[in-house]
Symmetry: C2
Subunit: 216 residues, 2 copies
């Protein structure tokens, strides 16, 4: 095919990003290529480059689209600080887990766009309203934000990794009880844990207690 139409953009940035997320959700992040993306849209590969400068920018757009889904609407300004902070942290986690294969993008680039920074702004507002000093508020937001993103991304990758590794061999352990006594001892209670959500919750409330409640 040659040139087709012009000036009536049949192809938009939004469509490109949406198709990209479809591919990432379906086949994984490493399966996303400009060629496959163009094919998914029924369009020439190089047409994408009119709307997106390069693949790195595409990653940013995917992250942006993910974080745009963060739902901060059910925040109650009259609720206690702890509950409000918990709500934002959960919103971040839920959103990232909505697109687990894309979550890793949040780790490899620093947050820049308004959409990406909105949850942070929200946290700062909540802490400011609770009377926390700017320096302490910033530290609290950094720690809790990084905790929420970091731990959730590790969980998302754990899910992906498990799926992938289940269809391979399961020979991954050559651990000896002599070298790893505590692990073997602990593994006998394996039914009692492995709940990542509960673990996240436990860490989150410890952080909020130490960084928010104990600092007024």
């Amino acid at each position: 095919m040659g040139p087709r139409k012009a000036n009536t953009p049949t192809l938009t940035r939004g469509q490109i990003v949406r198709a990209a997320m479809t591919i990432v959700d379906r086949d994984g992040l490493e399966a996303l290529s400009m060629r496959k993306l163009a094919a998914e849209l029924g369009v020439g590969t190089m047409s994408l480059y009119y709307h997106v400068p390069d693949k790195s920018a595409l990653y940013d757009l995917i992250l942006d689209a993910s974080l745009r889904e963060v739902d901060l609407s059910d925040d109650d300004p009259d609720a206690p600080v702890e509950a409000r902070v918990t709500g934002v942290a959960h919103a971040i986690r839920d959103t990232l887990l909505n697109h687990p294969r894309a979550a890793i993008i949040a780790m490899s680039r620093s947050l820049r766009t308004p959409t990406q920074l909105r949850p942070i702004e929200k946290l700062l507002q909540v802490l400011a309203e609770a009377g926390m000093s700017p320096a302490q508020a910033m530290q609290t937001v950094n720690v809790i934000g990084q905790y929420a993103v970091g731990v959730t991304v590790m969980y998302a990758n754990h899910i992906n990794d498990s799926e992938y590794r289940d269809e391979r061999e399961g020979d991954y352990t050559e651990l000896t009880p002599e070298e790893f006594p505590a692990m073997f001892q602990t593994m006998q209670h394996a039914e009692e844990f492995g709940d990542w959500d509960a673990d996240f919750e436990a860490g989150l409330s410890a952080l909020i207690k130490g960084l928010v409640t104990d600092r007024i």
Copy 2:
């Protein structure tokens, strides 16, 4: 060139991994290719495949080599639990920051090899000696381990990202004070924070307080 020698391995797994880490530390993880790695060693590309099954395995080996540097030696069995846990967490962080460009590997694959699991075993031992139940110990280890790795990797990537983005344009902010009042308010105290080490410390002690001290 064709085949040269045999049975006197001039090329070893260790040399390959060492050269790979040299490249990663110098040029970044994305600059690591089998071809460049072979060139760095003055060797044919396909020779690498006799010692390493594929590139994914190479990543695992790099992670392994990184984590092998974790120094658990100055752990004092008579120190209070909190100090011992803090020590392990810091050892993990220091090691990851020793090879910041490689740190992201720790996020994308789950820990499997003995070397990778040794810090975890150490934490389990410390908590067991402190009388914590297996289920609670496992949760504590998960949370603190994921916190240490996740937050540190985000820091490492922030460093990389900053260096890279400084030589580009700095136009990255189009934030309006109307939309982001708390951020603008907070930014006026920018000198008082930005200390990632202090932030890490604050979060870590909050976690230890809530997950260890408060649970005996």
